[in-house]
Amino acid sequence: MYHALLFFHVLAAFFLAMAALIYSAFVLGSPVNRATRLVAEILWGVGGLGTLAFGVWLALNRPQYDIFDGWIIAALVLWVLATGSGARASQGVQPAGDDSAVAIDRRTAFAHWMRIFWFTALLVIMVWKPGA
């Protein structure tokens, strides 16, 4: 049970990473195609829900972890911040009809890079587990 939960939790985190990298390409000036953006949105949505659901399930499943541990609370806060930044970035990136690069405004770019920052911080918390 533990290994299955861990696998789906980590797989969901990789989905988030895939979406974040695709959006990084958009923000850096790559063509924004409708299908590619849709794939990124699906990966971000499934990854976000998966990391949260399987992460909480893992915390409840393992006797050495408690849902109110400091590092788990910190991870949940970072998840909310990353999701909020991601939603703002998604709104600002709309596909061009001819597969060309689109102009990304500064607020959208800032929201995206904040998403990357929160996501990396989340990874740091997951690896080091401070206080666990």
Binding site: Y2, H3, A4, L6, F7, V10, L11, A13, F14, A17, M18, A20, L21, I22, S24, A25, S30, P31, N33, A35, T36, V39, L43, R62, Q64, D99, S100, T120, L123, V124, V127, W128
Partner: protein, 160 residues
Amino acid sequence: MSVLTTLASITRDDSWDLPLFVHILGAMVLVGGLALSATSLIVAWRSGSAALTKLGFMSLFCGALPGYIVMRAGAQWIAHKEGLDNDDVDLTWVNIGFSVSDLGFVLLLVSLVIGGIAVRRINRGEGGAPSLSARIAAGLVSLFLVASLVAVWAMTVKPT
């Protein structure tokens, strides 16, 4: 052995943390680059977009390749630290990880070469539709992406 590896994964030494972080961060950049490349090349396959063919190649060169190097460096760091790089060690999950990594590197290099040829043809104006080489690259990149997710399974479930 299964119990030992499970315990190791739960109560690992703190000195593992930095190499593990490097390994996972590299792996995430790698699969992100592969996902962007595969999606772009598959869409280009259908639409004939030269811009997406170029994006497919550039995401391999600027995303997947650097990610692979960082992922592999982190893997070697951990393996050396824990003595898992000895010939005596025969753990299935370690073998799967190194096999996917080695085979994946070959797939990545071949995709980069034939993707580069496809981009060169586009830059020379030799036809608007993606070439056969771009389609082969799409297949190879997709294969490496699936194999990478199998490696994620092996690293977390740790089958022995």
